[in-house]
Amino acid sequence: MKLEEFATGSSFIHHLDPRGKVVAAACFSGLVSLTQSLYAALAALALPVMLVALARLDFKRLMTRLAVVNGFILFTWFFIPFTFPGEVIYSIGPLDIHREGVLYACLLTVKSNAIILALIALLGTSPVLDVVHALSHLGVPDKLVHLFFFCFRYLHTIREEYHKLSEALKVRSFRPGTNLHTYRTYAYLVGMLLVRSFHRSQRILEALKCRGFSGRFYILHHYQMKRRDYLFTSCGLVLPCLLVVFLA
């Protein structure tokens, strides 16, 4: 699991204000997922493809990522072409492939990938903490934002602990298999992670107290929307709207 794979880069997309990116990504996702027309979806796909190109992301890693997250879409191809009613265009034994079914599966595939690419190009190209920071400016409740901060901060620490524990298992020649011993071992591993996270959270709370925490976190870093950010965000809002309205 690689965190923040695409977050570092020098393209102008990487430098856009994360608030604008969040708004544009949410809007784009929402509108595209409403589309029922394949043409609109295809046109919408052009937008994130352009963004990905502008962000100059590593092509190979991008394709790997797409392959991984397309598992569910691949799965739909195993039944939608057969179960979606319509004109039969081909038969494999007792199974009929329907034209409309194939088109519907195409629609889902295009929509899904358009949104995934947009998420990569917009939210994947900012450090997670910046995105979370942006959320706090966009009116997401304090408690939720702090949960994000702490969760992401300690994800790294807990992941290191997990690696250490699993190495400890390996050096003691643990070989996972389909048996109760394996399940028990994994249960203890999970239990251990939970207990450690609990202990650590108590010490964090102590650290908070030692530094006079009174229930309020301060934000020191403030974003400045520049002209290009406004321009970009409004494009991000208007373009998908136009697409949906005219092509749907």
Binding site: E4, V68, F79, S112, N113, K143, F148, Y154, L194
Partner: protein
């Protein structure tokens, strides 16, 4: 348990978002400021743990862990699951922004149900009762979650029936594994840190 973006119909997405919002609001209300590190780290730990691949025959499955989260968190499971899903969406694009509400509900509602249905039994001092309840908690949480995913698909269109059935069937082995893992996990926590099972993460 992730449904991809762009698949579900608008009414399903909207209903999921509304329910998810309500559940999260309820959870946040029960969450005091000084419990935030605890809940956030628990979410992080379960995030990391859900990447453990548990072998089953020639294949392997990854853990869901919403049952045990539910028992520990109660309603706070909603925000905890929401943040871990959001992080997955922005870091790995598993799920996305529009399905966030739906997936949160699919995982968190069974967690909250498990809290009410099995929590008291799990905390019981009788080892047999506790064992049966913890196994059932893990098992039922995955069962309900997979049924919920199937339900969302079927509500989107009749052509998803076949896929919905396949999803539930494919999760049957996961249900057993989650049962065993939850059982082992509860036994471990009872020995090492029993107060973690006493809903210390939020107000009841």
């Amino acid at each position: 348990m992730h449904i991809s973006e762009g698949v579900l119909a608008a009414p399903v997405l909207l209903a999921g978002a509304a329910l998810g919002l309500a559940g999260t609001a309820a959870g946040l209300k029960k969450l005091d400021y000084d419990r935030i590190p605890q809940v956030a780290l628990l979410a992080a730990a379960s995030f990391v743990a859900s990447f453990i691949h548990v072998p089953i025959g020639p294949a392997s499955v990854h853990l869901v862990l919403n049952g045990i989260l539910g028992v520990m968190l109660g309603w706070v499971a909603f925000p905890a699951i929401l943040i871990s899903l959001f992080l997955q969406a922005i870091m790995f694009q598993f799920g996305g922004l529009t399905v966030l509400g739906v997936t949160t509900c699919n995982l968190a509602l069974p967690a909250v149900l498990g809290y009410y249905a099995f929590g008291p039994g799990i905390r019981s001092s009788k080892p047999r009762v506790s064992a049966i309840c913890s196994f059932s908690c893990g098992f039922v949480a995955v069962l309900l979650s997979s049924l919920a995913v199937a339900g969302c698909l079927v509500l989107t269109g009749d052509s998803f029936w076949a896929g919905a059935k396949m999803i539930v069937m494919a999760h049957i082995p996961v249900m057993f594994i989650e049962g065993f893992i939850t059982l082992g996990c509860v036994r471990f926590l009872k020995k090492v840190k029993p107060e973690m099972l006493e809903v210390v993460y939020g107000r009841r």
